[in-house]
Symmetry: C2
Subunit: 165 residues, 2 copies
């Protein structure tokens, strides 16, 4: 081996697998823009208000409005009305379960960006488990709990012939 990695055995017969159906592609149709992922990051950090999203991500009003509308339509954020004294009704944006389920993607990007793209590999912010105080990370595991790299993963096309028949 020369230090490079691949999925165990690769995908045996890639021609049988239609890439158009790939869930990664479908996910990227929804949250595949840099601005959408950065707005989701802000939602994880507790940002709820339009102006906070806009200024913290550094987007224009128009792009912020378009992205927040998309993320709401796709069900990653939910709009809730609020009103401050003397002001008109405004809306804040809160994470849904569907948005929370993207956590491994966001934390995976955080870990990777810290390891490879941050000075000294030191995170500029600490993410910890609020109960036990330990640092958090995104991992790939099987249902039996084994910790995996891509070299431990096997991909098989659907409708594989049953060899016992």
């Amino acid at each position: 081996m020369d230090g490079t990695v691949t999925l165990a055995g690769g995908l045996e017969d890639r021609s049988r697998w239609v890439a158009d159906a790939c869930p990664i592609g479908k996910a990227l149709d929804v949250i595949g823009t840099r601005s959408a992922l950065l707005l989701m990051r802000e939602a994880y950090y507790g940002t709820t208000r339009f102006e906070d999203f806009r200024s913290r991500v550094g987007l224009s009003e128009a792009v912020t409005a378009a992205r927040l509308r998309e993320l709401t339509e796709y069900g990653l954020l939910e709009r809730h009305p609020y009103r401050e004294p003397g002001q008109r009704t405004r809306y804040e944006y809160r994470l849904t379960q569907k948005g929370d389920d993207l956590a491994p993607v966001a934390v995976g990007l955080f870990n990777w960006g810290t390891k490879y793209e941050s000075p000294g590999g030191v995170p500029p912010i600490n993410l910890t488990h609020c109960d036990c105080g330990s640092p958090i990370r995104a991992e790939v595991r099987c249902e039996k709990g084994h910790l995996l790299s891509m070299g431990d993963v096997e991909a098989t096309p659907p409708h594989r012939p049953n060899r016992r028949r």
Copy 2:
């Protein structure tokens, strides 16, 4: 609670945290395009050759060449020469450790796209642990092994004043 989720307590004082330094943003500078992530997906599936990358992701030659060059320059893929009888030397692209370390992001997108965007929530391809045969998934855990959602995560700015002094 109304079914929405946020990071435990949010980020206490977001103004002390400069979003420009965010590792998520830095990671997205490198692999924040849809085409880059889809090429990485192909690399995980065992694709190594230019024409296979191009045709399976459905990109133009120019975009495929530009993205593979970037992914190589950033160190996610490595170029290796090969030559078939009677042909000129060509290059194949193999995953590096840096590329493999993005696995939680790719698997997280795969899981999320399967759950929310695939018919019946059924994956169009099976990803399993090659040793034990169990399905795989991306998770967020703390170093002590607790399985977490974003609601269990606390974010604290760096250089927090030491309260004991």
